[in-house]
């Protein structure tokens, strides 16, 4: 029994409670995906509301044969996050630059107190992910957080499957360099053909 399908049908037929149930069911997961992609809770909340409003208003465009409802929502959310990044030109730091700075994610407008709190409350993994380029961040979050297949990641991000695979691999290799720099040394040069 697929309750989401039933909720969608009921929402389409005008049942407000079904819309609310759909919203409540996806509210936190969509917020979290947006938060991971944007790195800012306030932005993530706005984007999540936009994405959920879009999905509920255009529920007729959702095609159950093409993807799960979550995958469709993730596609909308990723698109909205890209819009937000373009519009606000959110600063993101390349991993190379971050590592050159000693591994500290520096705020371009540093507030020492805020930065200290942020660094205390954020894991090394989180900071390293936020330092990835947006396409790599999308790929790694969709794979590791949302647990999508490569086919789904390709569909969500609008790229070929091999590109989705490459992005996940590149993101992993960059994260590995950031969170376990000795791992590469342990592998040894002869490991690489």
């Amino acid at each position: 029994m697929c309750d989401i399908s039933a909720l969608i049908q009921r929402w389409q037929s005008g049942d407000e409670r079904a819309g609310e149930a759909l919203y409540n069911h996806h509210r936190e997961p969509i917020f979290r995906l947006a938060y991971g992609l944007l790195g800012d809770a306030a932005d993530a909340e706005e984007v999540a509301q936009d994405a959920l409003a879009y999905a509920l208003n255009r529920i007729g465009q959702y095609d159950t044969a093409r993807s799960s409802f979550s995958t469709w929502l993730h596609t909308i959310t990723v698109s909205r996050c890209r819009d937000r990044q373009r519009r606000r030109r959110l600063p993101w730091l390349s991993l190379t630059a971050w590592l050159q700075q000693g591994g500290d994610a520096r705020d371009p407008a540093p507030n020492p107190e805020a930065q200290a709190i942020r660094l205390e409350t954020r894991s090394l993994v989180w900071n390293a992910i936020q330092a990835l380029s947006p396409p790599l961040r999308e790929a790694i979050l969709l794979r590791y957080w949302a647990e999508h297949t490569f086919q789904e990641i390709a569909a969500i991000t609008g790229c070929p499957v091999p590109t989705a695979q490459s992005r996940v691999r590149l993101a992993f290799q960059k994260l590995r360099a950031a969170i376990a720099p000795t791992a590469l040394e342990d592998l040894g040069e002869e490991q690489v053909r």
Binding site: W11, A48, Q49, Q191
Partner: protein, 269 residues
């Protein structure tokens, strides 16, 4: 495979991103090469670390209380459920609105006529059935602690309502916690049973719609897991049981004592 695989190949292998033929070759090599086995384990350890890091940061992130459906509702009323046949839909809704207005007028007139023609002194029946007292948003919280072999606990739960109408939607939020690393990915079941124990409605899904598989739960980490159960329109009024538990989707075997939560639910028309 005479040479060791490259780092790229190993990473792709760890991510299940190799073609079948290359994967089989890699399987053979890994079977005989302790060094590559160790490298693969390193990769897998880093994968786990990334997953745990994400769960620690994202899994504990919550939107503000201002992010609600009520806040979104005004944005849904103007361009609601626009489909490729939007124009047609708008015409339909416009016609439907007119029909609803006419129907309401007929009901009011009929009620007035009934009231006038009813003999004085007779009992005054309710002319229009009152809506059931479905309290979406009312929260009932209870704490229980049922442990299974893996020390998994359903710490508490929230129900959107304890009394619902047929066709209503029940939202149940489960709060889990594990005391040990779990080896399996389990599925949550939510069953609505009648007094004879017959299944009337059910919802089976991995926790948090698959975003928080049990194998990734960290010891002591609170896991919030929401589910919705759509009640059939055909339910008759009466008392029902709501049963919640976990099972192994591979074997179908339920964990622990089978049912971690068993409570009554009233269906009232």
């Amino acid at each position: 495979m005479s040479n060791h695989p490259s780092d790229t190949e190993l990473v792709n292998y760890a991510h299940h991103a190799l073609a079948d033929a290359l994967r089989e070759t890699m399987d053979d090599h890994l079977t005989a090469c302790p060094r590559c086995q160790a490298a693969l384990m390193d990769h897998q350890a880093i994968q786990q670390r990334i997953q745990h890091g994400l769960q620690a940061d994202l899994g504990t992130a919550h939107p503000s209380p201002q992010m609600t459906f009520a806040a979104l509702a005004p944005r849904l009323k103007r361009s609601r459920r626009v489909t490729p046949r939007g124009e047609q839909s708008r015409r339909f809704f416009s016609g439907a609105t007119m029909l609803a207005t006419l129907a309401a007028l007929v009901v009011v007139l009929a009620a007035l006529f009934g009231a006038i023609s009813r003999p004085s002194g007779s009992a005054s029946p309710a002319m229009i059935p009152q809506p059931p007292s479905v309290a979406m948003g009312a929260v009932l919280t209870a704490s229980i602690a049922v442990a299974d072999n893996e020390q998994l606990r359903l710490m508490s739960y929230d129900l959107s309502a304890a009394q619902l109408a047929p066709g209503a939607i029940l939202t149940i939020t489960l709060y889990w916690q594990t005391q040990r690393n779990l080896v399996g990915d389990y599925t949550v079941f939510i069953h609505l049973l009648d007094t004879a124990g017959r299944l009337m409605a059910s919802h089976d899904a991995p926790p948090a719609e698959g975003t928080r598989p049990t194998r990734g739960w960290r010891i002591g980490e609170p896991i919030t897991d929401s589910h919705t159960l759509v009640l059939p329109n055909t339910l008759t009024a009466g008392d029902y049981r709501l049963s919640v538990g976990l099972y192994d989707p591979g074997s179908g075997a339920r964990l622990g004592d089978g049912v971690l939560l068993d409570r009554s639910i009233t269906i009232a028309p």
